[in-house]
Symmetry: C2
Subunit: 275 residues, 2 copies
């Protein structure tokens, strides 16, 4: 998907919501357990119930890998069920030496090789340029690079101050030599609203994938105040708060209601900037 | 596996060789393609031919994921074929926020959940303590944390100088607050022989997993000169040079011959330190 297509979708839906499919088989409604693939059935119903309210789905691969082969099967089926006009994110946090990253790129981008073709994948920056660049060889596919993450451990290394800047700022600066904002986004955790000021100094126009709103405690208002751009420039993820809104048979409607609440807040934020 | 068991194995086999199962279906001998699962058949024969010469097998998950469901199947089968008395490494470079890292830990450590139980997994440090600690909750399982990697891109961030040290040194220092050398190792690329001096300043007794000998250009002599400890303290990985030693029907014998060459060099290095 191109940047223009993504922006057009945000305009149309008045939403920059990413629904995170962090689907834990232990947390889905009991009645689904009679299905052949309960996780896929859950995802299918969540997708059907929310697809007009969000512009992106994010699949956290860990939740699938932990169930081994059965989980990988649910992952592939879910990936292929995602509507093609919605931006899809493999939240996989991959990254390795060049020839290995090329294999990971095939895993998430090459339908012919792996049976899956996401629009984007999250990548860890520690191993530098050649660990990232193989993902950039695919046309209209994106790298979403970890910059400032939403977790407690973010403070361990990401705020280390080097000669010119903090580590996450170096990641933002350096990585812009590798790709433009047509092919690179950044992960920036919502748990640090005012950090968006600093992020926008280094990446004024990039789209940011923002986890941490909702269950992790971040506020949508803060994120928008400091992070929104004239093109919106935000994809705000909500996982648990939406997909586990109800544990009963009405889980999909409850997820829809929750997504709608967020979408309506987002519509207001977009209105403020005349988008 | 405990540290003592690993050391005993190195003593017995006079080897600290890790064979990397970076098995690319495009590179394996043609005659294997008639098997149901050619990659597993290849791995099986490589394992049978080398298991008395190495102390560890490292499975690079990217090479399996890129083939989708079929690849994950080969991964699970290979993981379960690894001899239990040999140290097994899931070279997966994972790491995410705490609840997600816990899922990755299940994926690679919990036989009951995922059908696989490796002795260790490689983890990227960028997201800090809570991205690493869920892996440490499993008894006698190891985290192998990326410190100084073997690729060109290592220079992008790992050498950034902060107030006290370079980033990879901060990773070495900080992470020792999270686990002892009974449960943590580090990845240190062999392409920088003399960097081992610096590594040993911060981690004098830890085992180091060393990729980059062979195809990537590192020298075993340099690694030993600067990196070996009284307990050996090294697991040196060789992938391509061993597993693709021949592309014919004799690939397993050729792999064995290549592994034996490396093992004999290693025996000499161990003799030098009277191990």
């Amino acid at each position: 998907m191109t940047r223009q297509e993504l922006i057009a979708q945000i305009k149309k839906k008045k939403s920059f919501l990413t629904v995170g499919l962090d689907t834990d088989i232990k947390k889905i409604p009991q009645h689904l357990l009679t299905f052949d693939d309960p996780v896929f059935e859950f995802n299918k119903q969540i997708i059907d119930a929310t697809k007009d309210l969000c512009v992106s789905y994010k699949i956290n691969t860990a939740f699938y890998e932990c169930r081994g082969l059965a989980g990988w099967q649910s992952l592939v089926k879910t990936a292929n069920y995602l509507p093609k006009d919605i931006f899809s994110i493999a939240d996989a946090k991959r990254g390795d030496i060049g020839n290995t990253s090329a294999m990971y790129a095939d895993a998430f981008f090459s339908q012919a090789d792996s049976g899956m073709s996401f629009d984007s994948v999250t990548v860890a920056p520690y191993m530098g340029k050649d660990s990232v660049s193989p993902f950039l060889k695919f046309q209209n596919k994106w790298v979403i690079l970890l910059a400032l993450t939403s977790n407690e451990g973010a403070k361990d290394f990401q705020f280390l101050k080097n000669e010119e800047s903090l580590l996450f700022e170096s990641v933002l600066q350096k990585s812009q030599e590798w790709a433009s904002n047509e092919q690179m986004m950044y992960v920036v955790g919502a748990t640090r609203g005012d950090a968006f000021l600093q992020i926008r100094k280094h990446a004024p126009n990039h789209f940011l994938l923002v986890p941490g709103v909702g269950a992790q405690g971040g506020s949508l208002g803060d994120v928008c105040q400091y992070g929104i751009t004239k093109d919106c420039g935000l994809l705000v993820n909500s996982s648990r708060a939406i997909i586990y809104a109800s544990s009963g048979e009405d889980f999909a409607q409850a997820a829809r209601a929750e997504a709608q609440k967020v979408q309506q807040q987002m519509a207001k934020e977009l209105e403020k900037i005349g988008f």
